[in-house]
């Protein structure tokens, strides 16, 4: 019996391979987008974890030098002898080729298991201590091969572009004997330690961060990707829902027959569930494989984005990690269950002797619709509330969620209202029928239209954000990259010679002075600038305490600082406030500058003050103004002997910055296109589902004299009308989305607020795409209708309805 029932159920898919394809393809597509996004996220997170584990940054309190960037090695034993359980770290860069961060640790005192170094016997400690073993990510290890005299052990636990070795070996490799760059503090410290300022007044304690800095900074980016993944999945589930609903509707007759033949309901439902589980497994499997392909294609861009935007190093090679493929399969099953629950429920509740005809149109959905409208109103109100009073990134995403879901739920009611108005305006019979019939299609097409609405709104919103960002960013680059040449030197003495050399040749030499520090408890950069015409003319102040020229004068004299927009948002600094830039230095904030493409806060102070505060961080890089860039470059290379690689021109930096920018949004763009494609597919499936059920409704119209061709044309027109209406509603929704992204999410995610620009041509093009997608999706069902054999239409009258 079971076997016969299975064969009967399966015969349906054999007869309708298209439905089977739709179901599997929809589910696979949804799973692919979801698991692809998850794969990218988990790869990136694994890279951050490796970085945090390798460097101990963020996990442990640190002691850093108050000035400069080295600590004499003797301080280590002194602190230990005083009862401070510290562990030394030296970090530096090595050209290998491509920069490799060399991290030297002392495994005997390092707190916890750091990177590949553990005291549990898993490491060949004698080899490590003897200084001839270097651990590196496999790709990095290959680059180091032959570059350093040590045994290089590939280890995936080490962050990309990083090599970990014993501190003694690292000092040797970096050529910095008897130096440390920081000290890590063990979490558990012994009783009775003297205070730090008594034994090491030259060191500053930096508390551990809750969660690594990188993870915090990049959270917003990953949240973004996850949101896109979920959106794609939701759209995919619309397809699956349509396909399963259709298959179950069409099999009602079969179900009734099987039950009449004695198949118990319980077993039937179980068989149907098993059938769906099998389909979910197959589709989920395909989806995970597709997801891997998508992730592998996206990952290099994502890695470049994260590197360019946050300085986070992410491995470009994708690894198969159980967390994403299992979550992919899980969501395939969950999605199928969600999509099929209603259909299964109806089968389970169907009376044995129920008519086999498809259900009459569910126009009795009055109550459902009222609930839907109420929910939509509540969500939109919540979105308004969040926009007015919400704060923080999470509130920003909640706002997006409420806005999108609320709008989607409101869509059928909105469409119905518009169509009802149109119907009232129609005078002749055919238009009256057209509008009334279109209204009747809205519930059936609702889910597909919601998918289209979401996809279009996301497109409008995201493209508005990206294009606004691009306009602002290119303007910003033009301002900032005023100097014609950028040169770098290797050593301070070379830098001094270079400055002397340039004195007569360049009207303005701008040293690039920068140290990493912490301001208001957050990682930040401190920059020293030589205030001159370049800064005064090109750096626009977003807000200032007094006239711009006075602001620059105060910065030049060391009386005030300028902070970037990120820092001003995060630390709540406005012009006129004060900022503590060192334990003993507080300066008023004179102005705020925009700073796009940099996640960390920045404090800008005058050159003289910077040199007083950080005597050990002299400038080795310079920006140069010149009228004759080529001539100066030739002089630098020829007369001064600076290697060509140390000279970069403005155009190259500009191109590089723009490339980073473009890559940042490649992923977003790709996901956008995929989402729209999925929405088009959803419309096609819904129309196909409806088409076969609509014959009984169309037959009387045909009988009254409307030709099949005319009916087909009207079907096409109906789809277009609905798509146009949806697109029109998607536009304001998309703009609201763009506003939320620019004014709420970006401010919290990146720390800058961008002006919003409108791009009507882009929206028109997008609307056209949506119409074409809807038309293409409607064409096939319309053609099918136009070619329905008259006999089929006649049968409607012959059969009992």
């Amino acid at each position: 019996m079971t076997r016969a029932a299975l064969a009967a159920l399966w015969s349906h898919w054999r007869r309708s391979p298209l439905q089977l394809f739709t179901l599997v393809a929809g589910l696979a597509l949804a799973t692919a987008l979801w698991s692809g996004v998850q794969a990218v996220n988990s790869e990136a997170r694994a890279s951050y974890d490796a970085a945090a584990a390798t460097l101990g940054e963020g996990r442990f309190d640190q002691l850093l030098p108050r000035a400069g960037d080295t600590i004499p090695e003797a301080r280590f034993a002194e602190l230990r002898r005083a009862g401070w359980l510290v562990s030394p770290v030296i970090e530096g860069r090595l050209d290998a080729p491509g920069a490799v961060r060399i991290v030297g640790l002392d495994p005997l005192t390092a707190p916890g298991g750091l990177g590949p170094v553990r005291l549990d016997g898993g490491t060949d400690l004698p080899a490590f201590l003897s200084g001839d073993t270097v651990f590196a990510n496999p790709a990095t290890a290959a680059r180091l091969q032959g570059r350093i005299a040590a045994r290089i052990v590939p280890d995936t636990g080490v962050a990309p572009d990083t090599a970990v070795t014993d501190i003694g070996a690292a000092q040797r490799i970096l050529g910095r004997p008897a130096e440390m760059t920081r000290l890590m503090l063990a979490k558990a410290q012994p009783l009775g330690r003297p205070p730090l300022d008594q034994i090491a007044p030259d060191l500053v304690l930096h508390p551990a961060q809750e969660g690594a800095d990188l993870a915090r900074l990049t959270d917003s980016f990953h949240l973004n990707l996850t949101a896109f993944g979920l959106l794609s999945f939701a759209v995919g589930i619309f397809i699956v829902h349509g396909a399963i609903g259709l298959a179950f509707e069409q099999r009602r007759g079969m179900v009734r027959t099987m039950r009449a033949l004695g198949l118990p309901l319980r077993r039937l439902v179980l068989l149907l569930a098993a059938e769906l589980a099998l389909l979910a497994l197959v589709a989920g499997g395909i989806g995970v494989v597709l997801g891997y392909v998508i992730a592998a294609a996206l990952l290099p861009d994502v890695a470049a984005t994260l590197e360019g935007l946050y300085g986070a190093e992410v491995s470009g090679a994708l690894q198969i990690r159980p967390e994403w493929w299992m979550s992919g399969l899980g969501i395939a099953f969950g999605g199928t269950a969600l999509a099929a629950a209603g259909a299964l429920w109806r089968i389970a509740r169907m009376p044995l002797l129920a008519s086999a005809r498809p259900r009459a149109w569910a126009m009795s959905a009055g109550r459902t619709r009222r609930i839907q409208i109420a929910a939509a109103a509540a969500l939109l109100a919540a979105a308004g509330g969040l926009a007015a009073w919400g704060g923080g990134l999470l509130a920003g995403f909640a706002l997006l969620g409420c806005l999108l879901i609320g709008a989607a739920l409101a869509l059928p009611a909105a469409l119905d209202a518009v169509l009802a108005t149109a119907a009232r305006g129609a005078r002749r019979a055919v238009p009256q029928w057209f509008w009334a019939d279109t209204r009747q299609q809205v519930p059936g097409l609702g889910l597909a239209l919601m998918a289209l609405l979401l996809a279009m709104a996301a497109n409008v919103g995201v493209s508005t954000m990206v294009s606004s960002f691009r306009l602002t960013f290119t303007g910003f680059l033009d301002q900032r990259l005023a100097p014609e040449l950028y040169v770098s030197t290797e050593r301070p003495d070379e830098a001094a010679a270079l400055e002397a050399f340039l004195a007569a040749r360049s009207p303005e030499v701008l040293p690039i002075l920068s140290v990493d520090t912490r301001i208001a408890g957050m990682p930040a950069e401190m920059n020293g600038i030589r205030v001159g015409p370049t800064y005064r003319a090109n750096w626009a102040l977003l807000a200032a305490d007094g006239p711009a020229s006075a602001v620059w004068d105060r910065v030049a004299s060391g009386e005030a600082a300028i902070v970037n927009e990120q820092l001003s948002y995060r630390a709540g600094l406005r012009p006129g406030d004060t900022v503590r830039i060192a334990p003993d230095t507080v300066l008023p904030v004179a102005g705020i500058v925009g700073d796009y493409g940099n996640p960390v806060g920045q404090v800008i102070i005058g050159e003289a003050l910077f040199e007083r505060m950080f005597p050990a961080a002299p400038a080795t890089r310079f920006a140069l103004r010149t009228d004759d860039a080529d001539g100066l470059r030739a002089a630098l290379e020829g007369d001064f002997g600076l290697p060509a690689a140390n000279i970069t021109d403005q155009a190259a930096i500009r191109a590089f910055s723009l490339a980073v920018f473009e890559r940042t949004f490649t992923v977003t763009g790709a996901l956008n296109v995929l989402t729209l494609a999925v929405a088009g597919f959803a419309i096609l499936m819904s129309l196909l589902t409806l088409a076969s059920m609509r014959v009984p409704q169309l037959a009387p119209v045909w009988a009254l004299g409307l030709t099949r061709r005319a009916l087909g044309r009207l079907e096409l027109a109906r789809a277009l009308v609905l798509a146009v209406l949806t697109a029109l509603l998607a536009l304001p929704l998309g703009l609201a989305l763009a506003w939320a992204l620019l004014a709420v999410v970006n401010v919290h995610a990146f720390g800058w607020r961008l002006p919003m620009f409108l791009f009507p041509a882009d929206y028109a093009r997008l609307g056209l795409f949506a119409l074409v997608a809807a038309a293409l999706a409607a064409l096939w069902p319309a053609r099918k209708l136009a070619r329905t054999p008259p006999a089929d239409l006649l049968k409607v009258f012959a059969n009992e309805r």
Partner: protein
Amino acid sequence: MNARALFLCLFLPAAAAAQGFAGLGTDAPGFDRPAPNPVFDFPADHGAHPAFRIEWWYLTANLTGPDGTPYGLQWTLFRSALAPDEIEGWQSPQVWFGHAGVTTPDRHFATERFARGGTGQAGVRVDPFFAWIDEWTMDGAPEGDVRLNAAGPDFAYTLDLAAEGPLVFHGDGGFSVKSAAGQASYYYSQPFFAAEGTLTLPDGAVPVTGTAWLDREWSSQPLAEDQTGWDWFSLSLDTGEKLMGFRLRQTDGSVYTSATWIAPDGTAAPMPDGAFSAVPLEAVPVAGRDVPIRWRVTVPGRALDVTVSTLNPAAWMGLSFPYWEGPVTVQGSHSGRGYLEMTGYE
């Protein structure tokens, strides 16, 4: 014997480490080996012997609080060499560990430190004697007054020790044989310390007095390959006599024992394999394994037949390389106090 060089496992290649304590029995090429008939040279021999692979300064104390509460205390500095020499700086092949513990009748505190030689973080200076790792120090030679301190996250102590007797040399004048195959170490003790100091515990400071016992031992290969662990006793009897005895457990179930009977004036009488016997009477689960907490210890030649009971069965040193170490009480033909160490209980 307190060949507590289990920590050495850390420095053996993974394959040897996987053999557990048997790994201690592997050959140590390049290192010196103890030879019979040693001639000690003090104060130099109180210091480190880099030509030998392992070495320790091991102090245990039985203490009493003002209300009569018994306490146990441990201070240990281990040295373990990767190569038989010393180099200044991070290239030093000398690795040092410190272990400190305090045992009360119902609590046990333990903590550890790691360091390498050559950086000043840990070491031993001979004249005047000063041994240290981080802020833990043992200041003063074992023939005279010694000041001792250590601290962990939840406990600390300082102890003033005064030697009230001579150094005691185990085995054949300080050459202590550890197996029938002839593995041996240099081994001497100062078992006659009077102790006075302060324990800092979570409930506050406790002034304590009592006795302490320092072991000095160095070797390059203390165990035979078929030995899996040991049980070591240092007992101070109320008669003024003292007993050091250990048994090394072998993979075939047999044991190798050695002991020293110490008269109140410090005269040492070494005892051969079999003259000392220790048999577990009761084991309880401690830290996920069964550990003996009551022993019958007999030395027929000295008419000693006693039961040795732990003060606190939970005196587990749950450190990188865990073992049991805690104070014990002695009852039976003799009474007294002492310390017990048990290793190799998997």
